[in-house]
Symmetry: C2
Subunit: 451 residues, 2 copies
């Protein structure tokens, strides 16, 4: 995760999908400015349009962005050259094998991330100079393969030695966390960015995505060997029916699809092909690209690290710089000069998983951390300052704290000599003393904030 | 997770898929004995067969097991009665709406877990007396819906207030961890149990699953409105081709499919329909049900909690009872009576996530834990004993430990008075002292091991 961000020079491991006719310089720059990797989709556009968009994006962001090349485009060879000449940071490729262009791009410092839908193709491109691979599942919008994200990603992860980025079905932060579990180093997101405020599609398109529910999409074109997922509309229902009518030739079917995406982008509800993924049902509103990305990663972190999903921790978030999973108190209050912290052991906490298997006991060091956090109302906070432990003295662990227990800490300030604070505290479960001790810490100015 | 296990009386939150013709008393009992919830699949079998299998399973396991009722079966009403009479612990239902039977089952103490493939149906059954819902994605084997697991599970989780069990695409522990991230409380697994040693299908079937790769399955029957996923074989390729031939009637297609699963179970490679999910490509060998379940959950825990996936921690596992994520040393050695521990900070550790956002510093309490673990070679271990902190004294934190740092702890035994040990330790990054202090702990006999 961190490595992919470092490699691509981005803050969040999220790549915007290369949506033809949709992903222009405005959207790409917005995503890049928000800390992801924005992508200009070349689609079937001529090379000159792509060059203009790249130059426009450069005026809109100083962050890295990329270009998606649809390799079946008649202009793909020319666009490949433009990308190299303009020294675009990253190229993602779809609908074909990018091998003929890889060496030239790599020589120009362009990072290459092909989109794959099977293990065999992943293995083939991973032998070349590519930076990562996007493994895209069939729940995605637009052109899709057969395998779903859940089935595809771990099989690709096992097959290659480069970072794998999961695509398809990534509608919110839960799916980002799930992708990490499957072994992905990052995600590619398309559908959710359809409703980005910076996305220049017709309002009809956005409204349809927002109104969609779980069963609002359909995959058509299976008979032609290149299925497309789109919202159920008169166009897609008609296409689906014709697929099973053998009096309709494949040529006629192909002709039916041509230009339909562009019509959707322009808002034609009757004849447009409104490409979207199965997660459309999760999308409820327009947001800026930055809001989308930040919300998704906050949700991913909550899924990955947050045992506090059962309640609102905003009050404590305002006081303490600690965040899940190292935020280990539920409540803190000042009572007659004593800082009182409270925590109920849920049983599912990370620290009980390994301490100890089959015998869950809150680790002593976590009790120390709880006691320290409980004392935070004794401190004079300043902005951009962080508290660090400087010492622990006379700490005694008297009784075990177990799942189901509620422990209450009472902490008193003994002395201060800024930036140092000396505190005495104790923690009780009911009337039973479990821990007591003396803590000292220093509240220091942050020397450096890095991501 | 814990709640679902408690509710169902099982150790691991895994339910075996209700595979018609395949899941008999032998397989169900093996899965239940291994800590999951085994399921006898009624399929199209008569009620008398189901009753016999239930009674046989009761002789093979004392653990709870279930029956899957395929509601389109002509025998389903009769089987529903048998299940209530035999007081089976759990019923899972597929291919229809179980509503007519729910009140009677609930009155008899049978827990009901319907399989759903869409949000609307999930909402409908969740209003009844059901214990949980299985949300099954289209990557599953056998009869499937349209939505993939990644897209379906979070949308169902948002729509209902009962536990959701993820099915489809759960081939190994990574997918279990991913399912938890999506909000699932457990998983249902079918394909992986096809190769359980206790699964009574023909060896040809098992061999095909083991040989399968990622693209070895195909979904047929979409035209009929009830698609089935199976391995690509002469039967399924033929069926797929005929679907797009409008001279073949729907009745002819239906007739083509009838009985084909049973032929596969009996090993007919030409005419059998070898149902399997897209995760078949992940399956490499026959194992007992217990081996499958334990391997999957070990892998899930590794994904969820283990930052040590990059190396083999077996040596330390033998010494310390701590497990990830509370196992926070990489190596421990005894050198001239001094216990030396070593840890390299990777940057992705759980404790850096929340301590502090944008400013990762190893928490002081984690340094104390590292120092304590580093001292473990000074202790005389006995079986069924666990070390607990009793005190911390004169602990001084002198310098921050940051991502990339390797910290080395040296710990010396000051005195012991069994069960108490008194240790002095210090931790250095290079020549810089980061922490020092005195630790005491007690090695106590385990009073109780609970799961």
């Amino acid at each position: 995760m961190t490595n992919l961000c470092n490699t691509l020079g981005i803050k969040y491991p999220i790549i915007q999908g290369g949506m033809a006719w949709i992903a222009d310089a405005t959207l790409a720059a917005a995503v890049s400015n928000a800390g992801g990797l924005g992508i200009i989709a070349a689609g079937n556009a001529p090379a000159s349009w792509v060059r203009d968009q790249i130059r426009l994006a450069k005026t809109l962001t100083s962050k890295p962005f990329g270009v998606n090349i649809m390799l079946m485009s008649p202009h793909s060879a020319e666009i490949a050259k433009v990308v190299a000449e303009e020294k675009v940071a990253v190229v993602t490729t779809g609908a074909g094998d990018p091998s003929p262009y890889i060496e030239n791009w790599a020589a120009c410092g362009v990072k290459i991330i092909p989109v794959v839908a099977s293990v065999a193709f992943a293995k083939r491109v991973a032998k070349k100079s590519v930076t990562a691979i996007i493994a895209e599942g069939s729940e995605a919008g637009g052109h899709i393969g057969d395998l779903t994200t859940m089935a595809l990603v771990p099989q690709v992860v096992d097959a290659v030695n480069i970072p794998v980025i999961a695509a398809g079905g990534i509608g919110d932060g839960r799916a980002i966390a799930a992708a990490f579990m499957l072994g992905a180093a990052g995600v590619q997101v398309g559908t959710r960015f359809l409703v980005a405020k910076e996305c220049n599609i017709h309002q009809n398109y956005k409204d349809k995505v927002i109104k969609a529910n779980d069963i609002s999409t359909i995959a058509t074109g299976k008979r032609l060997g290149h299925p497309v997922r789109a919202l159920k509309t008169p166009f897609s229902r008609n296409f689906f029916a014709k697929e099973y009518d053998s009096s309709v030739t494949n040529e006629e079917l192909e002709a039916l699809g041509a230009g339909a995406l562009k019509l959707a982008v322009d808002g034609d509800e009757e004849n447009g092909c409104f490409m979207a993924g199965q997660v459309a049902g999760l999308i409820t509103k327009e947001q800026t690209a930055a809001e989308i990305i930040e919300e998704m990663f906050a949700q991913a972190n909550a899924a990955l690290y947050n045992r506090h999903t059962d309640k609102d921790n905003n009050a404590i978030h305002k006081i303490l710089p600690h965040r899940e999973p190292m935020l280990v108190v539920d409540e803190i209050q000042l009572q007659d000069g004593i800082s009182v912290g409270k925590y109920t052991v849920r049983g599912s906490e990370f620290f009980l998983q390994g301490h100890f298997p089959g015998n869950p006991v809150v680790p002593g060091v976590i009790l120390c951390e709880m006691m320290a956090q409980s004392s935070c109302l004794l401190v004079d906070w300043e902005e951009n300052h962080t508290p660090y432990f400087t010492g622990l003295n006379k700490v005694r662990f008297k009784n075990k704290v177990l799942p189901g227990d509620t422990i209450i800490f009472k902490c008193e300030l003994i002395s201060k000599k800024q930036p140092f604070y000396f505190v005495k505290g104790s923690g009780y479960v009911g009337d039973t003393l479990c821990v007591s001790g003396e803590l000292s810490f220093a509240v220091l100015k942050n020397s450096k904030i890095s991501w």
